[in-house]
Symmetry: C2
Subunit: 723 residues, 2 copies
């Protein structure tokens, strides 16, 4: 064919291929690993000149995965196929392997770095050997190298320079785990993204592609563990029939550096062991758990251990036998200790009978045990003293148990924050808690310092996130909420990261590096959680969601026998005012904090207004710092929340050109729902509280178009996530 014809042919073929590409809608399945072609030819060329070939060192499955990730990532971003080559490279190469596999000629470059990193850390450094540039990614383990590879790919995803790299990084927490509240029937408690991704029925023989992609995504953000089953546990998961299935998942996850954990139902020795008791001091029970652990470890040598919810919300536990949490946790800890396993024992407890203040229960029950838990026990404490509210003060246990390793539990799934329809970037919530000063040792004794072990020299550290992952094609039911999985992983790696930086990374990797897109989206992400606090529970209000499924407003809920299951217990609105008096004149929950913190919260004048109604019962005409009465200020906060969502809707709808149509349209629809529901929250809460304040809505707050009776009549018998 003639040259011109050939050129024409090339053009036609290009067009053809571009067209075929076009037919692939972006359903979000690829998460933040989109690896889109980098837009500037100059930048692409500079990356290409730095990476002319890939030199993998080592032949483990993990290195194979790292190589594959680089090949997929670079092919996508640079439009170039990369084969791997042997060590003797004559070009600028990207070399990756763990310390013992590095050639002696270059190992010296990393001596200092190896001293700085832990077993999971990595070094990325540009060196020059024999006139050729080498980009080296190394660590003490292959998994460290894999983390380095993901970090490196992220540099490209976010269009950063890679000419002179010298990065030394290690995770600051040891146990970085997702908690799946997934039931064996594939429902997910508080799950809003379809069903459980664990297809137990088809395991162990069918390995769903999702398992691999799940592991890949987690490895890319440093998550190194997954608790497969619900804390409201079913003992059957510990039977051989299921262990065989769990083993297959463990085998899939292992090369990605991910360990599996299971929830242990405390009464399992009775239910599946045929014993008459589950008393943790009973010899048969002790022996049963030791045997069970041994059998699990025979199948899964690196099994992580157990997560336990005991004597809470009706779950069985040591107290059923007159024992305590220490007895229960230590018995299990002994069973897994020979194999290197750990126990994560939840502090989210719920007394059999109502107490004077639910916020005080965990602290009251656990703090006296400080120092009594075995070394391989982590006490897992929710971020706040109630239950994953849009805003809570930090949990008073943080800093109060210096002899006990505490891990923090965040909820990534949005039980109380609008399910998966509301686009709330939770990173700012996580960051706010982590940066909170417990003031236990000294000023600056933040929650982050408690959980990373630096405050009290703890080796065993961790962070748990209740997963928002389900079978929905985009994993999280809403593309935006992928950012919460992402930010959880990043903060578990480094609890000092800033949400703004995390958002920046995530937006660039997921959507676009175009400033005109990144800036406005980042801005609204960073506002989004405050908006939700405002339209749901401003000024320290909490737990006024509808009963049971927690979908939508329900400040009027007062139907339950147990006081603390009712909204009215938490807001205590009356004609005088609103709010839960937890000051020294009330429940004295403030007394669970360090003296300085307690003083601050206790005094209505120093208590931050975002916690005002958390700690104080405040008169309706109390003057807020902005000069408004409490009533007017509350109403204006509700309005502000709605207005912020309206602005989010507007911003997103202006960005059509920057996003593929499917993700763009889906976000548009979801933001419209959020806007509608923000107004529903505002109107129903204000109408309800107005019955007590008996005051008019201030100027600037839209008048409700429905009656309180209407809102109270709404029922949602099939709201998701409620089992």
């Amino acid at each position: 064919m003639k040259k011109l014809d050939f050129i024409k042919y090339c053009f036609v073929s290009l067009f053809l291929l571009l067209s075929v590409l076009n037919t692939y809608a972006n359903d979000g399945y690829k998460l933040w690993l989109q690896y889109r072609l980098i837009e500037g030819e100059g930048l692409r060329e500079s990356y290409r000149s730095n990476i002319q070939e890939l030199v993998p060192l080592g032949d483990s499955k993990t290195i194979e995965i790292a190589l594959n990730e680089l090949q997929v990532g670079l092919k996508g971003m640079l439009g170039q196929e990369y084969l791997s080559v042997e060590r003797e490279s004559i070009k600028n190469s990207l070399v990756f392997g763990r310390k013992e596999n590095l050639p002696q000629t270059i190992i010296g470059f990393f001596d200092k770095g190896y001293h700085q990193i832990n077993q999971e850390g990595f070094i990325i450094r540009s060196i020059t050997v024999k006139g050729k540039k080498q980009l080296v990614i190394t660590g003490k383990t292959d998994v460290g190298v894999l983390y380095g590879v993901h970090h490196f790919l992220r540099l490209l995803q976010t269009n950063q320079a890679i000419g002179k790299l010298n990065i030394v990084d290690s995770p600051k927490l040891k146990v970085r785990v997702l908690n799946h509240w997934d039931n064996l029937d594939r429902t997910v408690e508080r799950g809003y993204s379809g069903g459980s991704i664990w297809d137990w029925h088809r395991l162990p023989d069918f390995i769903d592609q999702r398992y691999i992609d799940y592991a890949r995504a987690n490895a890319s953000i440093g998550i190194n563990g997954t608790v497969l089953t619900n804390v409201n546990a079913n003992a059957l998961i510990l039977t051989p029939q299921y262990i065989e299935k769990v083993k297959v998942l463990a085998d899939v996850f292992r090369p990605y550096g991910i360990k599996v954990y299971l929830t242990a139902r405390f009464s399992a020795p009775i239910e599946i062991g045929g014993l008459k008791t589950a008393d943790p001091l009973d010899a048969e029970v002790i022996s049963w758990w030791k045997g069970k652990a041994a059998r699990i470890y025979a199948e899964i040598p690196d099994f992580g251990g157990f997560l336990v919810k005991a004597n809470s919300e009706g779950q069985p536990g040591p107290q059923n036998y007159g024992r305590n949490h220490v007895d229960g946790a230590n018995m299990l800890a002994d069973a897994v200790a020979p194999f290197g396993g750990i126990i994560m024992w939840r502090a989210f407890v719920y007394a059999e009978n109502s107490s004077d203040d639910r916020a005080k229960e965990a602290y009251s029950e656990f703090v006296p045990y400080d120092g009594q838990f075995k070394d391989n026990v982590l006490v897992q404490v929710k971020n706040g003293p109630i239950d994953f509210q849009p805003r809570e003060p930090f949990h008073p246990m943080f800093g109060a148990m210096p002899k006990t390793p505490l891990m923090i539990e965040f909820q990534i799934t949005q039980e109380y924050l609008g399910c998966s329809t509301h686009s709330v970037f939770l990173s700012t919530l996580f960051e706010e808690v982590l940066a909170s000063d417990t003031d236990r040792k000294c000023k600056g004794s933040t929650v982050a310092k408690v959980i990373d072990g630096s405050l009290s020299n703890k080796k065993l550290t961790g962070m748990a996130g209740v997963s928002n992952i389900g079978t929905d094609r985009n994993w999280t039911g809403n593309v935006f909420l992928q950012a919460n999985w992402y930010s959880f992983g990043r903060l578990a790696w480094n609890p000092y990261m800033k949400s703004a930086d995390i958002a920046d990374e995530w937006i660039r990797a997921t959507f676009s590096n175009d400033k005109a897109f990144v800036q406005p989206v980042k801005a609204f992400m960073l506002q989004s959680r405050e908006a939700t606090v405002n339209y749901m529970t401003p000024l320290g209000l909490h737990h006024i969601m509808a009963a049971g499924h927690h979908y939508g407003p329900g400040p009027w809920v007062d139907i339950f026998e147990r006081a603390e299951w009712n909204s009215v217990y938490f807001h205590k609105a009356d004609t005088l005012g609103v709010g839960f008096d937890r000051s020294t004149t009330g429940s004295n929950a403030v007394g669970q904090y360090a003296p300085e913190v307690a003083r601050m919260f206790n005094d209505i004048n120093t208590c931050p207004e975002e916690y005002l109604l958390w700690f104080h019962h405040v008169p309706w005409n109390y003057r807020l710092k902005n000069g408004q009465s409490l009533w007017n200020g509350m109403a204006l906060k509700y309005q502000e929340g709605v207005d912020t969502v309206a602005a989010m809707v507007k911003t997103w709808s202006s960005l059509e050109g920057y996003v593929d149509s499917q993700r763009f349209n889906e976000m548009n629809m979801l933001l419209d729902i959020q806007y509608k529901e923000a107004k529903w929250w505002r109107d129903s809460c204000l109408l309800y509280f107005q019955r007590f304040s008996k005051m008019e809505l201030p100027e600037g707050v839209e008048k409700p178009t429905r009656t309180l009776e209407y809102f109270q009549s709404l029922e949602f018998p099939f709201a998701p996530g409620h089992h």
Copy 2:
């Protein structure tokens, strides 16, 4: 840039794009609408020369959809972008539009065709106008045109010549509906492909891309209706809160020619209407349903109507008030008649108390009502008299109610055929039933002729398929089972189609036109259902699945109070023999068939051996036609089933080069499971029946490696689909 550089640039870019393409794994989401690039350049070129441009006529949403489908399909298959052009074409064009939108210059070509087709039919014809070839797709309605467009695309997908087309086709059945047994909580009764695709919680505001792709897929095979909800119905679907959601689905589906239907819970007037009764002759009840229908039609003017399961398996119905099926069906029929709606009244009934033979119940109850149902009632009859077994004789009601329009109900989801792990091509089952001769009017009075109305001149005709669709990425939990959805649609369009032709189409559209792939895959698809009959229920055995979830073998089930819930009721094995005597010496179920058919089934010598144990209690040493004793023959049939699956495993694993890796690997894993479970069926059934026959396994049958007690001890508390 210089020419050579430019050529190089083209090459690089091509390579780049091909590489990016490579990273898309094929997860099967696109079903049979893969539209892969046609492999032969010659064939592609010939298609291109016949289709140089697209000329859509008409501006409806349906025509827009047809245009879009052509653009996507042709782009994929021909690698060329097609824009639509105005009528005045100067090239070989593809013209499509309904009769009234066709230019007068060409309308004459189709006069004869228009007389031959019905409202949903189409004509595809090549004509020459002013020296230019025009391929015209037309019909009386835009939906007819859309069906024609899909038919045309299928010609290309299967690499057929399109130079001289003259195709005139119409669906032979009027109501071609999927029945979703989907619950409002998103579980699916007998669903093995994840949860329900209807995200009721997010409706009406969130339109999942799945809804659109579901409609597209159904339109492509001629399905024109969908019953959204489970026959075990929840009355809430009829409340305004849900009707608002249903309306949105109806709006999405309408331009694809798909109507929505709902299941009506007979007791809804009590549950959501506040009435004290649901008596179909009660004036208030009658008025309530009329009002309900009016309100639904106000939102959904083309609402299809109701499907009702009444007085069956505990569902409420007219008999609760001393009325009968006619009273119930006609009352509802009157409610929807003013709006053109229909009632599909299921004949699958279940008496309150056990009868002598469950197989006889539907016939006994319904046949006396022949001629009493209103014109807009279809009585929906399962394909066989029991319940979707791997093989049943045709249902005796077919042909026995000449004055009543009967529609047939098939089960596409595999409640009794290995869930979604067993790759069973059900088309041969459907075909076998449709081709069965009821012999009611004369020889050749097949079930197909009953249901297409031709035997007794019925206008209202239909076929229902219990959907196998769920939220799994590949829709049906197993790529192969997409073929069952496909074949249901094709047979609902034309109940005389051959399974071999359907398989051929489906394989080519879904995977490859390569003979080396098509032939062996087609061969094993056509064998697959017989294999399942053999390893589960050979020689007329039936309903010996495990209790409740029906997963796996359970011939020993005898725990239920109601006789016909137990396997032993169905096989009646004893030391003398096995099988249910339904001959004149037994329950005389044969008496429900036409005399010739009854005689054939009644006489053990003329009864086809595939129905032997369905109709007869047969001694273990009875001589089969092949000379084997019944016991040996049964054992060998079980072995044959296993062997066929082994061959399927082998065939598929030899075809690696022809399929993308994801679909290839998934099928490999699933076939391995099927093989394992086929052996499980064989071993446990033979061990069980051996207790009665007391005979040795014949040569050629593998010895079980586990005991009967082991098989009986297996429990699957979370087997899917059981709610």
